[in-house]
Amino acid sequence: MKMISQILKELGADEDRAFTVVPSFGAYFKCVLAITEFSSQRVVLKTTFGTLTLSGDGLKVGEYFECDAIIRGNIEEVKIDEID
């Protein structure tokens, strides 16, 4: 994670907007304001930079505390709707 953070920083990216997806395992998201929709096929996360819609199967909220969320399961697609 430190190396990824370093790369993002050197590239000039906003690290808070980054998230990590591990195929067939799940994903880690920061800056999550709310989970607005939740089912085993679809999870919608409202974040500080927009809305993320996750599709897949066997989706579960592995951990959710303050602005950090770990979604477990097989994530097949992440749709990003950024706030203008």
């Binding site: 709310a34 989970i35 939740f38 089912s39 579960k60 909220v61 592995g62 959710y64 505390f65 303050e66």
Partner: protein
């Protein structure tokens, strides 16, 4: 981590919103029909029940954490746990104290004598094992007449005294007091067993008791064998005739007053002339050792 599984009848979104607002970390969220299952840390349980206190949420604990289950089981069986704990504590405590004394002896010594000796060295019923001076008690028991082996051991809360004697049921052990057979002064008195009747420097008359065949335990008198000795110093006078006053005759006269078990401390000789020779008038100071049941 100590996590408890909660089940509520609510939408996941609404429940997660409320939990986030209360800063409660949630784990392993899952939808199951109309129910929403999730896990929270044990410390957050009260907060969760407070948040979803309205009847419409139908909140319930689905699976308690291992620690909570142990605590609940313990509380439900409080009497059993308390009883078991009390038993363990009592067993541990009783193991520290002497609750019984067993004496195994092939000799003629009464059990009361042996327990009295052990008791005097701190090994009495109700006392802690630590108060017993085993070395001293063993030494005193080995000093008893004919005792060849002595072992004091601990078996649970029982103090076991094993004693072996060569003179099994021997009639040689004298079950009586040590009595003085002469008048004099006590120079030394040692009572291995029994109670001394005189102290060093005391005057003693013939027939007086020197060592009693009993022990005093508290206010009671416990019979035992008297074992020990007393050195008695006494004055004596003898007249011994000799053909003449010579060094050899004087030595011979002094030798005639010496007896077994007696030491002559000092002697004063006066010579009286007679028709056929001399008479030595000997005034002497002697020490004799009187003993009982010493091997």
């Amino acid at each position: 981590m100590k996590l408890t599984e909660i089940c509520i009848t609510s939408t996941a979104e609404a429940a997660l919103k409320k939990l986030k607002k209360a800063s409660i970390a949630v784990y392993d969220c899952e939808k199951r029909g109309a129910d929403f299952l999730f896990r929270v840390k044990d410390k957050d349980l009260k907060k969760v029940f407070a948040i979803f206190s309205k009847p419409c949420y139908n909140v319930r604990t689905e699976k308690k954490s291992a620690l909570s289950r142990i605590i609940s089981a313990t509380l439900l069986r409080a009497g059993l746990v308390a009883g078991a704990s009390l038993f363990v504590v009592l067993a541990a405590v009783s193991n520290l104290f002497i609750l019984r004394i067993e004496v195994h002896c092939n000799g003629s010594f009464p059990e009361s004598e042996i327990t009295a000796i052990v008791g005097e060295e701190g090994g009495a019923v109700g006392k802690p094992f630590s108060s017993l001076d085993r070395a001293l008690a063993t030494g005193r028991l080995l000093a008893l007449p004919g005792v060849t082996f002595c072992n004091i051991s601990k078996r649970g809360s029982v103090l076991v005294v094993d004693l072996e004697s060569e003179i099994s049921n021997s009639p040689s052990a004298r079950r009586e007091n040590l009595v003085s057979d002469l008048d004099g002064v006590v120079k030394k008195i040692v009572a291995v067993c029994g109670t001394p009747a005189k102290a060093e420097g005391d005057a003693v008359n013939k027939g007086e008791i020197l060592i009693y065949a009993h022990n005093i335990v508290g206010d009671n008198t416990v019979p035992c064998l008297a074992v020990g000795y007393a050195d008695i110093q006494f004055k004596g006078y003898s007249e011994i005739s000799a053909p003449s006053d010579s060094e050899e005759n004087r030595k011979s006269a002094l030798a005639s007053i010496a007896k077994e078990g007696q030491i002559t401390d000092s002697a004063d000789i006066k010579v009286r002339q007679t028709d056929g020779g001399v008479i030595f008038e000997i005034t002497y100071l002697c020490t004799r050792r009187l003993s009982i049941n010493l091997t």
